[in-house]
């Protein structure tokens, strides 16, 4: 049985790939399909999956602010709040120092240098 974390990841992958809202039923079927396609090896997340489990995963993701529900329709249709690239950009923003609480991630292995230093470094790289 896949853990909730693995399921969250699989659901987000589907929502990010799909670009449109999906119901828990649709997602369950898609998860089951991807399991069969991979022949139960690496990502065996969809095996014997109940719709209630998918709903649990979706509500966890909703609480984390990653998916949103379309209120009007029933059954509810879910979609990703923002794209994979946007979330990645959010993380990188934090790392590269524009976030107010830079202490959360520790000491990026990065920085910028002055023009002369960059020149020195570039020479160093050419010679090696």
């Amino acid at each position: 049985m896949a853990t909730l974390g693995e399921l969250e990841r699989a659901v987000m992958d589907l929502l990010w790939a799909g670009h449109e809202a999906a119901t828990a039923n649709t997602l369950r079927d898609l998860l089951a399909q991807s399991t069969r396609a991979q022949d139960g090896t690496a990502g065996h997340v969809g095996k014997d999956l109940a719709v209630t489990t998918v709903l649990t995963v979706l509500s966890r993701l909703e609480r984390k602010g990653l998916v949103e529900r379309e209120r009007g329709t029933r059954p509810h249709r879910y979609q990703a709040v923002s794209s994979r690239a946007d979330h990645t950009a959010e993380l990188m923003h934090e790392v590269l120092g524009s976030a107010p609480d830079r202490e959360a991630v520790l000491a990026r292995f990065i920085g910028s240098v002055s023009a002369t230093e960059a020149e020195t470094l570039r020479k160093l790289l050419e010679h090696s």
């Binding site: 974390g5 969250e8 990841r9 987000m12 984390k64 990653l66 994979r84 979330h87 990645t88 950009a89 959010e90 993380l91 990188m92 934090e94 790392v95 590269l96 120092g97 524009s98 976030a99 107010p100 609480d101 830079r102 202490e103 959360a104 991630v105 520790l106 000491a107 990026r108 292995f109 990065i110 920085g111 910028s112 240098v113 002055s114 023009a115 230093e117 960059a118 020195t120 470094l121 570039r122 160093l124 790289l125 090696s128």
Partner: protein
């Protein structure tokens, strides 16, 4: 008691102003970063202790001959309604200030901890969805992003080092190893605790510009310490090349390399200083990178042993002095 409070006040002022400025300008910390790190911690701790101690001792002076006796009669006044007539206005003022400052420091420390933890949790949640396990080592993950970035996210057993695809594409295996060892050194040496304490220290006393100097010095020293760990197993050339590629790669992502790098640096420092009036410029990532690289390119020998022990002795003295001044009269009396 009376002279003790004056001595503690002088110590607090010296540790709050001239000493951090001198230390932040000194060249030797790059030669022995761990010694310098201890000294910064001793200065901050002793500074806080003597700041609070001076006010406490001054305020309690009429209440008792020793700190202990003073605290006991103060407790009587507060909890059992005993007469407070021995305390003048300034004594009560100093005592209130000591209590407020202590509470403020503890509260800021906890608040900073809470904010950092919350942000790390969010970061970890997103990583769990976005990043992939890396083949380069345990607790190493890869995230799809073009900028060459490596960082670590502390969190006990869930600590993780994150590498970007851009970084992995730009670096040779030996350079990548140096980067990973560097990041793992941050985690194993618990550098996040130092950053937390000094970030809180700066947050608590933003009007004291030397708290900014301390935070910057600590940020730079942890990088040097992590570099030194990487140098134990990887060649200096690999490490320098890794730093250089990462640093210049960040700039060449745009069309006009250097100006973009400067823009990024300017933005970063502007944001980190926001809301803290009086803070201008200072050591941003660029300065730290520059001092790291120059220290690798033109290495200087570590401080001679006797000098290192002298600094360590000074650290101990710094911590023992205010403590002794506060406690020992009580033991003798």
């Amino acid at each position: 008691m009376f002279w003790t409070s004056y001595f503690l006040a002088v110590l607090a002022i010296v540790l709050a102003w001239p000493v951090p400025i001198l230390l932040s300008r000194a060249q030797w910390p790059a030669r022995s970063p761990s010694t310098a790190m201890l000294l910064w911690q001793a200065i901050a701790l002793a500074g806080g202790l003597s700041m609070i101690g001076a006010m406490l001792v001054y305020g309690l002076e009429p209440a008792g001959d020793t700190l202990l006796a003073g605290l006991r009669s103060l407790a009587g006044m507060v909890f059992r309604n005993e007469p407070t007539t021995v305390l003048g206005f300034w004594h009560i003022f100093a005592l209130s200030a000591a209590a407020l400052l202590s509470a403020h420091l503890v509260f800021t420390l906890l608040l900073t901890y809470y904010k950092i933890q919350r942000q790390r949790r969010r970061h970890r949640e997103l990583l769990a969805l976005l990043a992939f396990p890396s083949a380069d080592g345990p607790r190493t993950m890869v995230i799809s992003h073009d900028s060459p970035v490596a960082y670590c996210l502390p969190g006990g057993a869930r600590s993780v080092t994150v590498l970007s695809r851009g970084l992995m594409a730009a670096l040779q295996p030996d350079e990548l190893r140096a980067v990973i060892i560097h990041e793992n050194a941050h985690l194993s040496q618990r550098h996040h605790l130092l950053l937390w304490a000094f970030a809180a220290w700066r947050q608590a006393l933003p009007w004291l510009p030397t708290t900014r100097l301390a935070q910057e010095a600590v940020s730079s020293l942890i990088e040097m310490l992590a570099d030194d760990v990487a140098l134990k197993t990887e060649s200096k050339a690999s490490l320098i090349k890794a730093i250089a590629i990462v640093a210049s790669g960040a700039g060449t992502a745009g069309t006009n390399g250097t100006s973009e790098a400067r823009m990024a640096f300017g933005d970063a420092s502007a944001v980190s200083d926001a809301g803290q009036p009086g803070a201008t410029g200072g050591a941003g990532p660029a300065v730290i990178t520059a001092s790291r690289v120059s220290r690798l390119l033109t290495p200087r020998p570590p401080l001679p042993e006797p000098l290192r022990y002298a600094v360590l002795g000074a650290c101990l003295l710094l911590l023992a002095l205010p403590t002794a001044l506060l406690i020992v009269p009580g033991l003798l009396g």
